[in-house]
Symmetry: C3
């Protein structure tokens, strides 16, 4: 499997380029580029890890964190550019609930079927809960104020920018806190960097080069993928919300999904939690606010108002995930509960 | 008192049969059948315990759980059959908040006045919190999606059935988890089966016979009781919501009420919590979804949409109960807090 | 600084009396009386501590608690008398969120920059969380019932009075619990009385006399201050909500702010938490319900219905504060998170 990775990566990349530029059938285009994005996301992940290996753990953790969600961020930027704000927000929502419910749930279930109870750093669990809560608050407060008090568009945008700035400040603070001042308190965090395997074989220069190449590849495939999404809404009558929240989110997070489950099966649930929850946090505290500023640069401002059902879905996912992870341990049943909530949300979104 | 139990049980059963078939005054009918249901619920409880004694702890726990709420389930089935959906949902709501606030509150207060601090299994507390949260989510998500996105009746029903199926899967998983795979982790659970007393004197055959008889008696008395409830709404102008949520719920849970307080006074707060919270969980994760399927069989489908005030009441009860029980200990003041929240809800429901 | 306290107190008191009776410019009046209220609130705090010193810890704690929020209560009574119900509720809201976010956040941040992790009694943290939750429930339930079920004005008032009575009962129970029956369990509580310093030099008679004088001074300055608030709404177009929730609340809590930060810097985070959270609890469980009864006495009844944004703000503040303090420890980053949520709320209120 490992040997075949690069040949497959290149084959699929070429295939999806052909599909896109030769205007193949859009369903075929979607399938090919969806498979390709899984490979390029995996490549990006490996390249980030390799650079992290040379950059040292601190800077490495930061790179790992910022490039880890690069696929989502790049897809989202293309969506913002095309003005598909509803789908952007839906895909951010889907990414958060997908990580907290699907990735964390599948990891806890898979790991829990093998091990009776899997423990991880309880301090980290508590901090993660507070941070996720901040993310929910940042979405909830503007929505409730705008809805109840009928703020003007200008005020809504100013409020959005302020909240976005606050989230980015919180995120930077969290990096300083978790990687500098209180690193030892949250030790499980380090596990994520373990087990590089083949990537360690790359030289420093190679690693950086691969990182750049991977990012460019992700950018291209993302654009091709986004171009096909209207098929689902136009041809199959699915809502933008469902496509964004489930299809885009599952494809965009494929790399995290498999990595987290593998780690859980090796009894490294701490690292799996870090990927799932850490990724959600990054979407909420970094990707979402960055997109607000990006939209301003495009001259077509996107506000931070999510719909009631999106906020409800995120709120519910955060509540159940923090309730389950607060004790610093997971079992198969807790994993199952998370997956069940994901199913409930999936069905509900499908009918919207 | 114990000696008089069976004579009183039979006397009241006969009396309420007379009241029903001779069409006595409906207030008299209500009072008599309400008292009778307390006795037959108590009988059902004893019979279940006796069968559990022979069936072994695992199967026993399951029987205890499924027959424990039989009275509520049977009352609710009659209400569903008569199409009184609002009253069904109100009585489910009342049952959940009654168990979490009144039963748990009275137990913690009574026990706490005798003992400074009463401790119970902290793992169980955490698991219960997550499960209750699932119940709240399962009620909240359909309500918010249907309300915000104006789902069609057909979609609402499909969503209801899916959510109901998810809840039953979660409940079955919980039985497997708490009675098979992680039994030892949640040890307090076993306490509920302690202290059978007289019931141990029954033979295996007797126990099963009594279980069948008790269930049939509960079914009859429940139907007679339900037939009188319109008096409160028609004659005294009370809302279906108040009758269902407070009168039906208090009568239907009388057996649990007294049992839990008695256990708390013997410093077995773990068993009392298990009755109160376990009963709520069963209503939310088993009784409610089963009723959806029962209504489909009757050809008159009931959806899972609860009103805003019902969801608010359940949400609030779950929040305060889990906040108080999360540390695996209760005191008199925590019991008092739960009772105060129950009073607030009672007054609010009365004015609806 | 300490030497100058009394001369400055008297100078500012006289100055604000002149400003008020000679009808100076209202902005000048506001600034002078705002500064004066900080001094008189500080004086009231010292006098309360001194009386507490002679009355013993139990009664002392009670006095400390009831006089600690005297400034807010007196300001609020004047607002109620003038029928400015919206501003009263806004200032109560502001007081709660100001204490939970600004005071607690600043303390945790300041203390956390000096000490890596600051610990306090974990039992107290849990109890505080449950009590704050009761406060939120007491505001949330009437609002949701009245809004969803369109209660009549009479029923709304009856519901308000019941809820107010329940809150006062809960508060009295809490005093008994935390100062009599379970005092030792919540030991950090005692720290608040530490470090009297100069006040210990006052005799018993002097202390009582100063307490009376301080209360009278607070009453006068509060009335003068309230008289100037319309300037902000009339002249600068700020909403009553913003003036009440941020300007009145910050001025009225100035004494607590500085005291809590000082204690955190001495590594007494337990006492700082006690001031911040205890003060919020008192506003929610004592000051707010007392005002309902006060308004009845004035013959102009105020109900307990807070606006959606106020309840959202309080709910959010309670959620993040309890999530952060539940583990019985604080760090600089947790303090920063609280301050960031305060900023988000401040901006949102400003635009209303």
């Amino acid at each position: 499997m490992k040997k075949l990775f690069f040949p497959l990566l290149i084959a699929f990349f070429v295939l999806s380029a052909l599909a896109h530029y030769l205007h193949w059938n859009t369903v075929a285009q979607f399938v090919i580029s969806a498979v390709t994005i899984v490979f390029v996301a995996g490549f990006l992940g490996k390249a980030t890890e390799a650079v992290a290996h040379y950059a040292g753990q601190r800077l490495g953790g930061f790179l790992n964190a910022t490039f880890g969600n690069a696929a989502e961020l790049i897809i989202a930027i293309f969506l913002v550019k095309e003005g598909l704000f509803d789908m952007v927000k839906a895909s951010l929502t889907g990414s958060i609930i997908g990580n907290l419910l699907l990735v964390l749930g599948a990891s806890a279930l898979a790991g829990g079927l093998k091990f009776k109870e899997q423990k991880f750093n309880i301090h980290l669990a508590g901090q993660n809960a507070s941070l996720m809560l901040l993310g929910v608050i940042a979405l909830f407060i503007p929505a409730v104020f705008v809805k109840s008090e009928h703020l003007s568009q200008g005020d809504t945008m100013t409020l959005s920018v302020t909240v976005a700035a606050v989230l980015i400040i919180a995120y930077i603070g969290w990096l300083v806190y978790s990687m500098v001042t209180h690193k030892s308190l949250l030790e499980d965090h380090a596990d994520t960097q373990a087990d590089h395997g083949e990537t360690a074989a790359w030289s420093k220069g190679q690693s950086i080069l691969f990182l750049v190449i991977a990012t460019v590849m992700v950018a291209f495939v993302s654009e091709w993928l986004v171009g096909t999404l209207h098929t689902f809404t136009d041809q199959y009558g699915m809502s933008e919300l469902f496509v964004g929240a489930f299809i885009v989110a599952i494809v965009g997070n494929a790399a995290e999904h498999s990595a987290a489950v593998m780690l859980a099966l090796k009894n490294k649930i701490g690292a799996a939690v870090e990927i799932a929850v850490g990724s959600s946090l990054q979407i909420a505290l970094f990707v979402a606010p960055v997109l607000i500023f990006v939209s301003l640069m495009f001259g077509n401002p996107m506000n931070i108002l999510f719909t009631t059902v999106e906020i409800a879905a995120i709120g519910v996912a955060v509540l159940i995930a923090t309730s389950i992870s607060r004790d610093g341990a997971t079992t198969w049943y807790e994993g199952k509960l998370l997956l069940l909530v994901y199913i409930v949300l999936g069905v509900a979104f499908f009918f919207v």
